[in-house]
């Protein structure tokens, strides 16, 4: 079927929303995995019928689900995420706990699943406590790319409010050896050798929450985005500050410009305009809701700095929701569609690049993630 397939992870299950290319009339299917937290779902770019879902809960731990028919049916695959011993450290080593004391690394859940761009059987998992795992056998088994956690700064990493989590992984569109990862609250990292070794890429970030504001690591990076036509240009929503790099993360500069607040979680780039960027400003680090009771997506068409509020079709009074870091996505139709989900359970779609919005579904459980597949 040609059209859009939106994959929604929520606090109490997964939902699949489908529409034709006009993106006006939607079918809502779910809940899948009812009662479980679904941190993330994502489809394989190499095989759109292959979907991945991270299913977890406090009682029964982590399950990874795979669908080979576009979400009609699912099967549990491997869920053994064992940390590798680290050279020079005892066992898998330690990181800092919230209070600054050492804490052994312990797997909690999968935050993000990033399928390979070319191989349907290869998928990466970003997990809490922060580490990156890779499966090359369709999810049957997982092996840690321990060079990331083994970076010399690893023992100093500390959790953000949501835990010490690897929540973002960007794959370079043409160079399989290059990836970008973001960890709360360690910062951004880049590998140029397929994940064997990693370089912190946080120069230019300033964070008032750490002893040295310009430290090499310790920054609470909330999300990263890139456009495939310019993979050296990265956009970042940090705890506070919206940032940009034009040298693959070697240095960053602020592009918050005239945003009403530069705190937020998601950031994304238009499918066909690499200088068009979307964020959802949030009041502050102590009040995780949109400012002034108004749900506004902000769009920059200048690669940052100058931002315009997008409000048509969005509630402009008495709205107190958040939009989490993985809960925004864009499709690749000629008129780029933009999607996001809220902690109030609404999923919005703009079929015209953000000019106007419609609510696809209004009363889901709190939305944790939104991804979209462009089916042709």
């Amino acid at each position: 079927m040609a059209g859009a397939r939106v994959l929604v992870g929520t606090k109490k299950g997964a939902f699949v929303l489908t529409s034709d290319q006009r993106r006006q009339d939607w079918k809502v299917d779910g809940p899948h995995f009812a009662g479980w937290e679904i941190y993330h779902l994502k489809g394989s770019p190499a095989d759109p019928d292959r979907l991945w879902a991270s299913q977890s809960g406090g009682w029964f731990g982590q399950v990874v689900q795979r669908s080979d028919d576009g979400g009609l049916s699912w099967d549990a695959v491997g869920n053994d995420f064992a940390y590798e011993p680290l050279e020079g450290r005892e066992g898998a080593g330690t990181h800092q706990d919230f209070d600054g004391t050492p804490k052994p690394w312990e797997f909690t859940r999968v935050w993000h699943l990033e399928p390979s761009l070319t191989d349907p059987d290869t998928v990466f998992a970003g997990v809490e406590d922060a580490a990156l795992f890779k499966s090359t056998d369709g999810g049957a088994s997982w092996k840690e790319l321990s060079g990331l956690r083994g970076h010399g700064s690893g023992p100093q990493w500390q959790p953000g409010a949501g835990g010490l989590c690897l929540h973002t992984l960007l794959l370079h569109p043409t160079d399989e050896q290059r990836m970008f990862a973001a960890i709360s609250a360690a910062g951004a990292f880049r590998t140029d050798d397929g994940g064997a070794s990693w370089l912190p890429i946080n120069k230019g970030l300033l964070s008032g929450e750490i002893p040295q504001q310009e430290a090499e690591v310790g920054h609470c990076v909330h999300n990263l985005a890139l456009h495939p036509s310019r993979p050296d240009t990265l956009y970042m929503q940090k705890h506070w500050d919206v940032m940009r790099s034009d040298d693959a993360g070697a240095s960053w500069y602020e592009i918050s410009g005239d945003l009403p607040t530069d705190f937020g979680f998601p950031i994304d780039v238009h499918a066909h305009e690499p200088e068009t960027v979307y964020v959802v400003p949030i009041t502050s680090d102590y009040f995780h809701v949109v400012p002034d009771g108004k749900l506004r997506v902000y769009r920059s068409r200048t690669g940052g700095g100058e931002w315009e509020p997008l409000t048509k079709g969005l509630p402009q009074q008495h709205c107190y929701v958040n939009v989490l870091r993985d809960a925004m996505a864009v499709d690749a139709f000629d008129d780029c569609g933009v999607y996001f989900g809220t902690t109030g359970g609404q999923v919005y779609c703009s079929p015209d690049g953000g000019d106007s919005w419609q609510c696809i579904v209004r009363d889901l459980p709190a939305v944790l993630s939104v991804e979209v597949q462009t089916l042709r």
């Binding site: 479980w36 809960g57 009682w59 029964f60 099967d75």
Partner: protein, 95 residues
């Protein structure tokens, strides 16, 4: 045969209706048999690496809490006879 009752979330994960019957005389054998017959349950009852029971999972039978007895102790006779089920419970932790 030992009768095992799983909580709703695990029955749906393993696509089971009602009780499960396994050949088992100890708690460890119950867990081994469940995971062998239903691989989707691996890691949900006990940690795959350490084998430790997950903190919010409890084992009850014959009005007794078996969560902290040795995994290799014999199950109660009534469970072994099939008169009473072995209960896997998700601990109460809600509001």
């Amino acid at each position: 045969m030992t009768r095992v009752v799983l909580p709703h979330h695990l029955r749906s994960l393993a696509r089971l209706d009602g009780e499960v019957q396994v050949e088992a005389r100890t708690t460890r054998e119950v867990l081994d048999a469940l995971e062998a017959a239903h691989p989707a349950l691996r890691g949900t009852l006990r940690d795959s690496g350490s084998g430790q029971r997950r903190p919010f999972v409890r084992f009850y039978a014959c009005s007794e809490d078996l969560s902290h007895v040795s995994l290799d102790d014999p199950l109660p006779a009534a469970v072994l006879r099939g008169d009473e089920p072995f209960l896997v419970i998700g601990a109460m932790a809600g509001g």
